[in-house]
Amino acid sequence: MNELELNQLHRSFTDLSEASLDVLAEYAHPRHYEAGRVIFEGDGSADEFYVVRSGTVTLEMPSPGREPLVVETIGPGELLGVSWAFPPYRWNWRARAQSDVELVAFDAERVREGVRDDPVLRTALLEAVAVEAVDRLHATRMRLLDIYRATP
């Protein structure tokens, strides 16, 4: 994965220096999942994180006796997985490819180690996580308000 591709992969990567992109590129691997494949399970170890390049991924909760409950879909340019950044580094939701999906997978353990001495990259990655988490928090709050419900 080259620097230019990484630079355009996520909105928080656009201002990264060449040196930081070089470091990040070491941990990045392209990954393909066919539609329906599970990318990670809800109780698994968060040892990778991803950015979606194409296709969509559902975040879902298995439910006994019924179809899994889909809480959100993640699409191109969005970060898949935030639990890798904070202890105990375990996923909370199952991620499944909704369509054929192209991802860039990052080795979370190596990233956590590697950014210890690189405050710029560390900040950029934490910012990427925070930006996505805040956006999803706002969106989830709006959905909780059920604003499309009919009111007289």
């Binding site: 879909t73 699409g75 191109p76 340019g77 959905r143 499309y148 009111t151 007289p152």
Partner: protein
């Protein structure tokens, strides 16, 4: 030469229209196609509304949801939430209703020519934007990139299903749909419509955004658009208040310095933003 302005009496007198067809959109929403029995205009601009009168029940403002390129009839998409909308929803082919209008300022389509266009709808808010979509698709070459983002409560709440498939099949329009809650058959996106903004490409300083839905949705969307760099003046929203006369006489729809039936319902977000932060005006 311009036509003489109608007298107050003429402006308040509904023309009698007949229902040509009633189409069920969702469990609580229908689209009425109506045509004048004798006199009555069917010309309108996208974003304008009419006062619809269910005889013996009352009158309500309803946005025109049909194709501005089709003469001869008007379409209204009506959600049954009160006595009047319930009566209008129960009308059948051949039934009469009163129509006044069209009224108000519509979407800034001419100003969007040559620019990227974002059309963002939430829930029943797709109805006032449908004339924009139909106009833009019929005049596609006048615009740069065109993106239509639509959010609904559930898959069964999606309006204009037959047309959504048609719009999705266009190669010259980015069309994204999301719902707050999916079901086992839903294979589309789940999430808030604002999240779809990350999926489409546009040049923020050459973009016109038209946003319609509940005010909370419009405010959240406008903030996201601002965060993406779209100028506040280039964001248009459609505001609903208690329209009564439709001609700026009665003051029921006054919002700060504006009478929304006359100066709206579509206004630029740099006008609307201060009002949308106020609990009660």
């Amino acid at each position: 030469m311009t036509a003489p302005a109608p007298s107050l009496l003429e402006a308040m007198l509904p023309a009698v229209f007949s229902v040509v067809a009633s189409t069920e959109e969702t469990a609580d929403t229908i689209t009425l196609r109506v045509q004048p029995q004798a006199s009555g205009t069917t010309a309108f601009g996208p974003g304008q509304f009419s006062m619809l009168y269910a005889f013996g029940v009352g009158e309500v403002p309803i946005s025109i949801s049909g194709d501005p390129g089709f003469a001869g009839f008007l379409e209204y998409t009506i959600r049954s939430v009160g006595a009047v909308t319930k009566a209008l929803s129960a009308l059948d082919q051949g039934d009469p209703l009163g129509v006044r209008g069209p009224y108000g300022v519509g979407w800034p389509i001419d100003g969007a020519s040559g620019r990227d266009l974002l059309i963002i709808a939430g829930g029943i808010g797709l109805a006032p934007l449908r004339p924009v979509v139909l106009h833009v698709l019929a005049n596609r070459s006048r615009f740069n990139s065109v993106s239509l983002l639509y959010g609904a409560r559930t898959p069964s709440d999606l309006l204009f299903n037959f047309q959504l498939h048609e719009w999705r099949s266009r190669f010259d329009v980015d069309f994204e749909v999301t719902v707050d809650r999916g079901d086992s058959a839903w294979m589309g996106d789940v999430g808030m419509v604002t999240q779809l903004l990350n999926r489409v490409s546009f040049e923020p300083d050459n973009t016109t955004a038209m946003v319609c839905g509940p005010e909370l949705m419009m405010r959240a969307t406008a903030r996201q658009l601002q965060a993406h760099g779209v100028a506040t003046r280039d964001i248009a929203v459609s505001l609903e208040r208690n329209m009564k006369c439709g001609i700026g006489m009665c003051g029921h729809c006054q919002l700060s310095t504006h009478l929304l039936c006359r100066d709206g319902p579509v206004v630029s977000y740099d006008v609307a933003e201060p009002w949308m932060e106020v609990a009660e005006l």
